[in-house]
């Protein structure tokens, strides 16, 4: 049985009159990548700051790695690693010194500390930057160093607060490779992000938070399927006939005319319905000129639950796009 490594119950936090976190409950299983997704100001950072012991807990119960946050803060501090939002590197220390400082903060014995520093520098491929001051590192290298630092003490959970903020796409992809590698080696990952695509790509479990409340949670697939809103866009040789036919089909929820052709809303998984629909249309002698399947993105999930777009929402993503030549 997999243990819950983080257990949060009825967490509440307010700044003056402003309720930033409103009765949040969730749990994180050991070994998974858990994402907290939400727009800026949704309460993600407040939650993570409480969990990493920087912000005093006002109400609720939190257990991390078996320790109670209210009474065993120091134990928790020793069992977690943190990669903070924004840069937290002393620009005048070298890569090696940065890690040495961290190891000493956590009272790692000297020989073990030195060994871990070597391992970490190697893991994040900063071997040739060992004696370079952090001010001379690129944004991606700095982040990698921060990840190395967070991992140095072999934490049970690694907290990553917006780890890829302000990095370019390539660097982001590489960073996720590291994070996945770390996760595969057994470290539980707790991350916050407002990038839908990243949460989608790496997380085992996603919590969507808005206005201090968790409004949806599940795997990425579950969240998207729960919408039941796969869309198929069809262009046919006879839209009128196709429309009548589609409306008789059970798997079709709704058919509307769109600018070019038809927009079909499917009740179940669109990828399975599509071949059946095309076959039926052909059987009836209706030519299919083009087909376009659109899976809901996490953005759609977000819009569905909140009624508004995520501020930093990316472009629509087509998970499947095909062109079928029709004809008699």
């Amino acid at each position: 049985m997999v243990e819950n490594i983080i257990e949060v119950k009825n967490l509440k936090h307010s700044y003056g009159d402003f309720l930033a976190v409103d009765d949040v409950c969730f749990s994180v299983k050991e070994g998974e990548i858990f994402a907290f997704l939400g727009p800026n100001g949704a309460g993600k950072s407040t939650v993570i700051n409480i969990l990493i012991t920087l912000l005093p807990m006002q109400k609720g119960t939190v257990r991390i790695a078996g320790y109670d946050l209210a009474t065993q803060q120091e134990k928790i501090r020793g069992s977690i690693g943190i990669v903070f939002q924004d840069e937290t590197l002393d620009r005048d220390l070298t890569v090696w010194e940065t890690l040495e400082f961290h190891g000493r903060l956590y009272s790692l014995p000297r020989s073990m500390r030195r060994q871990r520093i070597d391992e970490m520098i190697h893991l994040v491929e900063l071997d040739d930057k060992r004696n370079v001051r952090t001010r001379h590192l690129s944004g991606g290298m700095k982040r990698r160093l921060e990840i190395a630092r967070g991992l140095m003490t072999q934490p049970k959970v690694l907290f990553l607060d917006e780890p890829t903020l302000s990095l370019d796409t390539q660097t982001r992809m590489r960073l996720w490779d590291y994070i996945k590698k770390v996760n595969e080696a057994g470290t539980t990952i707790f991350l916050t992000t407002h990038y839908m695509d990243e949460a989608d790509l790496v997380s085992d479990w996603i919590n969507i938070i808005d206005h201090g409340k968790i409004i949806a949670s599940g795997t990425s697939l579950e969240l998207k399927n729960a919408l039941g809103r796969d869309m198929i866009y069809l262009e046919t040789s006879d839209d009128e006939a196709a429309l009548r036919l589609l409306r008789t089909m059970e798997m079709v929820k709704e058919v509307n005319r769109s600018t070019r052709g038809l927009a079909v809303t499917i009740t179940t998984d669109g990828a399975h319905c599509l071949p059946i629909i095309i076959a039926r249309l052909r059987d009836e002698g209706i030519g299919v000129i083009s087909v376009n399947l659109k899976k809901p993105t996490l953005d759609d999930v977000f819009v569905h639950y909140t009624g508004r777009e995520l501020r930093s929402a990316g472009a629509e993503r087509m998970t499947s796009r095909m062109l079928v030549k029709g004809g008699r």
Binding site: I82, F84, T88, D90, R104, L105, S107
Partner: protein, 278 residues
């Protein structure tokens, strides 16, 4: 108690020696002060004090020698008042989060910064004393080697405890302040009255009553008394005033500084325990 404060100390010293310009200026600036101000005032004071007769057989010290202790105190005060500023930068740059989220007790930050500040002050004072002796400050006159060593140790003890007090104070203020500018404002506001309402530049005996009372509440006065006792002696004339210090007075001056440092530690500790850095 663990020794994690040595981590904070290590980092702060690393930075101190890394910034050669800062290191250099912190050592040269007080020396310049002593050389320029000391030399100029010394010749002026020499004119006034020559009319005041010093009893035969008594020790009379030049203004430069009198001022030597004051300049040591001045540089210690300024170095210590600014000693906590690195905490403000750590806080504003987000570096403090790493430390606050670590298992290290917060009191160790205060102790670490305190010790590194004391180290800086001691280095500065040693350089300053050496330079002073070169340009004619008459410290340790007619002292044996052993007596000199004891005197230097005594001076450093006073400097150390005084410095700790103001470093803790500076750490507390730095933690509370949002910007370097506001810290600068507090320090500027404090440093001048502290400096002038003390016996650093001139004898307090000639002060108006209120300022003299202020100077008796001023930790700087106690440190300077200690330095003069060890550097010049317990019985001397300067600017026509007869100074007599008994060992008892010196011990109580030291205890006042210890009490001040302890009080400031408690203030800083309270600030640090309550501080939230996110």
């Amino acid at each position: 108690m663990g020794t994690e404060f040595m981590t904070v100390y290590w980092r702060d010293m690393l930075r101190f020696f890394r910034f050669r310009a800062l290191l250099f200026s912190s050592l040269v600036q007080p020396a310049l002060w002593l050389a320029l101000y000391g030399a100029a005032m010394s010749s002026n004071f020499a004119r006034f004090t020559s009319i005041v007769p010093v009893p035969v057989g008594e020790v009379s010290v030049s203004y430069l020698t009198f001022l030597g202790a004051g300049v040591i105190a001045l540089s210690t005060l300024f170095t210590s008042l600014f000693g906590g500023v690195s905490l403000l930068f750590d806080k504003n740059w987000g570096l403090m989060r790493e430390v606050f989220a670590s298992p290290m007790p917060r009191s160790h930050i205060i102790i670490g910064i305190g010790l590194s500040g004391v180290t800086k002050s001691i280095l500065q004072v040693l350089v300053l004393m050496g330079f002073g002796l070169l340009i004619g400050v008459k410290f340790f006159q007619n002292y044996s080697m052993l007596h000199t060593a004891f005197a230097v140790f005594g001076i450093l003890a006073f400097v150390g405890v005084f410095s700790l007090g103001f470093l803790f104070f500076s750490s507390a203020v730095s933690m509370r302040m949002e910007t370097p500018e506001s810290l600068q404002a507090v320090i500027t506001l404090l440093s001048l009255p502290l400096f002038f309402a003390s016996n650093a530049l001139y004898p307090v005996d000639a002060f108006p009553g209120v300022i003299r009372t202020l100077s008796m509440l001023n930790p700087l006065t106690y440190m300077i008394t200690g330095i003069r006792y060890f550097a010049i002696g317990g019985d001397f004339y300067a600017q026509g005033i007869h100074y007599v210090y008994t060992p008892g007075q010196i011990i109580s001056a030291f205890l006042v500084l210890v009490a001040f440092a302890m009080l400031m530690f408690l203030v800083a500790w309270r600030v640090f325990r309550r501080a939230v850095v996110t």
